[in-house]
């Protein structure tokens, strides 16, 4: 059977050599290389569940009155968008499973990308010849954040609306063009024209997924054409690649991981509630709720917005830079900007322009590890600051005091982390050298004994 198919395929396409190359493509063997794969499999789940949801969702702001099965919202005024999302959750069979799985998959997708990025940064995998792969990956992460944000904003529940209001405030805060830009996106002042919903919908279900899929394709093509990096040790060298072929060795593992990701996401989607939109109620401009939190991947941004002391920059009484700019525009620009610039900076600082196929251990490059640890610490402290209101509710810590503490930590923690990471790397390297010398001495001693 298979023999026939393979022969006929080659007859028609003359591609047997490609087939062999694909089957025998070598995968270096390390668990940390699987993080990117997890993201890919979560993306597949997102496409599948998202398509299902799109068959039921109605992205319209047309006002309607709820008369569905959920008693607490009987008679509530809401948009068609929110009502159709409620129906998906409460009336469509398997609808809630698909919606929750979609939501979980988005959270896992971005978490896997973030961890994958850390792996790449801490091991120096971004170095030549793989800078392009790295930039494409960073773009995927940025677009994924936007895609996730638009996704939960379209639903038009109370949290969606609050999130959109914040997005609008951040857009307005862009110097000079903020209001004009917001007028373009929203079609006018918040909450915008009904067309704004059409725009979010086409962006979420077509434009951004198409761009993401294209970038993922380019990313994988680059990974395959340059081959994976590998850790030092064994027979691996800068020239020689050592690993398991795609078929038969790697295929069952990767497919196993894919099905494991599917399993985890559907189990989460079925068993662990996420974003119960019927509890939030519909959004109205005049409504807000306490304890509003975004999905985890926007926690760093809400933390930054909350942490800023209250001031707009004004020149002679003229507002120049409104406050949300700092947390909502400048902060993510600095984070992604420094991630994008780091490969160049490192190349200039270290003078190392050679291509690298062997990865560093974090300790092998103390400055890089220190930089990455400091950046991570900075973002994480700000992320924590975004949860200070939960800490207030759960632990009773004064919100104001927490914010004051975070305002200091945000400067101190990265410096301490930088110093500590550098110190640890240097000590570990020294330790390695001592161990090496001892091995050498022992070997010499043994040789002398026998000699």
């Amino acid at each position: 059977m298979f023999e026939k198919t393979a022969r006929s395929l080659d007859d028609h396409t003359h591609t047997a050599p490609f087939g062999i190359a694909a089957l025998r493509y070598i995968f270096p063997d390390h668990w940390s290389f699987l993080l990117g794969e997890i993201a890919l499999y979560a993306f597949i789940v997102l496409l599948g569940t998202g398509t299902y949801l799109a068959l039921f969702f109605d992205p319209s702001t047309a006002p309607t009155v709820y008369h569905g099965s959920y008693a607490p919202l009987q008679g509530a005024h809401m948009s068609q968008a929110y009502r159709s999302a409620l129906n998906i959750s409460l009336q469509v069979k398997a609808g809630l499973l698909m919606r929750q799985t979609h939501h979980w998959a988005a959270d896992v997708f971005i978490a896997a990308i973030a961890l994958h990025l850390m792996r790449v940064v801490f091991t120096g995998a971004f170095r030549r010849p793989r800078q392009l792969t790295y930039y494409v990956g960073l773009s995927i992460l940025m677009l994924a954040l936007l895609e996730g944000y638009i996704g939960y904003s379209m639903v038009d529940d109370l949290l969606s609306g609050m999130g959109l209001a914040i997005g609008y405030g951040v857009a307005l805060s862009i110097p000079v063009i903020g209001a004009n830009f917001a007028a373009l996106i929203w079609g006018g002042p918040f909450p915008g024209t009904p067309e704004f919903w059409s725009r979010m919908y086409i962006a979420h279900v077509f434009i951004l997924p198409a761009i993401l899929a294209t970038l993922i394709g380019i990313h994988l093509f680059l990974v395959a054409s340059l081959h994976h990096t590998q850790f030092r040790g064994g027979r691996a060298t800068e020239k020689r690649l050592v690993g398991v072929p795609a078929f038969p060795g790697q295929a069952p593992r990767s497919l196993g991981l894919m099905f494991a990701v599917f399993a985890a996401l559907f189990l989460l989607g079925g068993l662990v509630q996420i974003n119960p939109i019927w509890l939030w109620g519909p959004y109205h401009v005049a409504d807000g709720t306490n304890g509003a939190q975004p999905d985890w991947y926007l926690g760093w941004l809400i933390g930054a917005l909350r942490l800023m002391p209250g001031f707009d920059i004004t020149i002679a009484g003229r507002t120049v830079i409104p406050n949300p700019f700092w947390g909502g525009v400048l902060f993510p620009t600095i984070v992604f900007g420094s991630l994008a610039l780091w490969p160049t900076v490192e190349r200039i600082l270290s003078g190392d322009r050679k291509p690298h196929n062997l990865l560093d251990r974090p300790r092998d490059a103390p400055w890089r590890t220190a930089f990455a640890t400091a950046l991570l610490t900075w973002v994480f402290v700000i992320f924590l600051a975004g949860s200070a209101d939960r800490a207030y509710v759960i632990l009773g810590w004064s919100y104001e005091t927490q914010i004051e503490v975070y305002r200091v930590l945000v400067f101190v923690a990265p410096v301490v982390a930088f110093w500590l990471a550098h110190r640890i790397c240097v000590e570990l390297l020294a330790n390695d050298r001592i161990a090496e010398r001892r091995h050498q001495a022992e070997a010499e001693a043994r040789a002398a004994e026998h000699g």
């Binding site: 027979r235 020689r240 072929p245 068993l271 291509p355 914010i403």
Partner: protein, 330 residues
Amino acid sequence: MRRLGRWIVAVAVWLFARRGEGRDRRGDRERIVPAGPPAPRAELVVAALLLLAALSAAAFIAVYAIDRIPDQTQFLGLSLGLAFAFIAAALIVTGRNLVVTEELDGEYADPQPDEAEKLVQIVEESGSRLSRRRLLGGSAAVAGGALGLALLVPAVSLGPVFDLEPFTRTPWHRGRRLVGDDGRPIAAAAIHQLEFATAFPEHADPEQLGAPVVVIRLAPSALHLPPDRRGWAPEGILAFSKICTHAGCAIALYRAPLFQPVEKPPALVCPCHYSTFDPATGGTVVFGPAGRPLPQLPLEIDADGNLRAAGNFSGPVGPSWWGVRDRKAT
């Protein structure tokens, strides 16, 4: 009967579960994939896992079909998740025990400067007939730029990009009554201290940033409004835009002291980023990220004892933008 059952099982086992001869029909040829020992028990485990996956998938269909099952979402997720999990397990056992995990050597490809050089050569030689390269290149750049711009221009239709007047417009004007979300006028006597009411302009669209206001009552002696706002708070009743000047969320929290001597003074708080405004001083920022006071709406009490606006807000409503302070609410 029982014997018949045993026979059927025996035949099924013989048909499906017996061990084959192996697939080495071409033993004379040199192998590409190295050989390994058979692992019949692992095969049975894989088969069992696949059957369990099938069973779980069937359970999913059953749960879907049975209408009045409690916790349907949970069982749907459980059955589908388990189906995937069993397949994952089957693949992992396959990977560990049923296929060889070879370690192969490969070579990293080098960059190929010769080929790149050839590429450049092809392009260069293709253009060897051109004598006015700069003129052509410049013209092409101008044409491309102009056409690109032309194709971008229709994006202006997306919104009133050069008209910022709608950003300062509010439905409030002198004499407009404050109504609740039921559309009924709000009597001054209905506003009590320590309480917090949301009001809208009568006969106006409530779904615009300029519409909703919060209405509270403070003791007139506690007020420290700016001098130009004298008379804006009849009986100590104050109205502020309900939209935070930081990022546009609704000011949904009112911190009202139940025991004044030790608790903090009253404040309006936004639940998004906890910008905190002092109503007694006219909405100034006392904590949090907002950079501009909350716009205050001047009030008056009409002959029927109902609240009316005595003008428009003290400043533009909602989040700030470039030059917002130069503008007035209109």
